[in-house]
Chain length 151, copies 2
DNA sequence: CCTGAAATCCCCCTGTA
DNA sequence: TACAGGGGGATTTCAGG
């Protein structure tokens, strides 16, 4: 939790609207000069609030037509078991996201594959053979919509 | 699916490594001049492969200490029911991601809240009152790790 | 079509008040 | 904080492959 004023929040909102926004444009929106805006962005980066910029790729246009979320329950849950699982899951190229969660499942994996048969290959040869895997539940992604943090 | 050569893929890999990378830096990596690299990036953007750049914010440092994934099963699933649900879910500020999925659940929502009691408020007053909501399952996020698309 | 080189524009970034 | 200058990236133009 870091002290932010209204202008910082306005800058963050602007950056959420457009991750490639320039300091000069943001400055006009928030009523600040370009250098002042740039220094605030720098401060937000150094403070860790702004962790970086990520490109958004269109998986479908790259030939990955199938995205599946897997809920995974581990059979054994010691510290070593968690580390083994995470390391092995990270070695699967099709795994885009590894989330350690608390609830009905222990992990959630986001898996991309070229098509359903490609996904079946990944599921059977890679996911089901991960160390400690117990129950696995799958949800195929149909569509998704991102929304901004209300700050 | 768009035709990409090895250089395009190398550029995309470089951009996944650093979303703020400059055309000149990328050019050095892929063995191309700065204008040629810049034109390829532009082409990837116009072709929709590169959908944009997004800033990564640290939710914890902004005071959102709790992230929960909800799996939601709808009681009724007509076209109108889906649209009503999506519209109402999008009106909840704490909902960061709305995923329409196929499987055990119909929707997955990513919800951020300031703390557990704030999450309880969102869950009881906003989520449970969404139109058509049936079963709800929750997973609290402990940690997550993003990985790059293998292209 | 693609490329690289050069030239221009404009923004970032920094020093300074 | 704003202002001003140098440096460098973004963008266009041009010529060659």
């Amino acid at each position: 939790m870091i002290a932010l004023d209204d202008i910082d929040r306005a800058i963050l909102r602007g950056l959420q609207h457009n991750g490639a926004a320039r300091a000069s444009d943001l400055g006009k929106k928030v009523g600040l000069s370009q250098p002042a805006t740039w220094r605030r962005i720098k401060r937000l980066e150094e403070g860790g609030v702004l962790r970086g910029r990520r490109v958004v790729l269109d998986a479908k246009k790259l030939g990955f037509d199938v995205t599946v979320f897997l809920g995974i329950k581990l059979a054994t849950k010691g510290r070593v078991a968690l580390e083994d699982f995470e390391r092995a899951a990270a070695a699967i190229p099709e795994v885009q996201l590894i989330q350690h969660v608390l609830g009905l499942y222990d992990y959630r994996l986001k898996v991309v594959a070229r098509d359903i048969s490609d996904f079946e290959r990944v599921l059977r040869r890679r996911v089901m053979t991960l160390p400690g895997v117990g129950d696995v539940e799958a949800n195929v992604l149909l569509s998704d919509e991102h929304r901004k943090l209300a700050i």
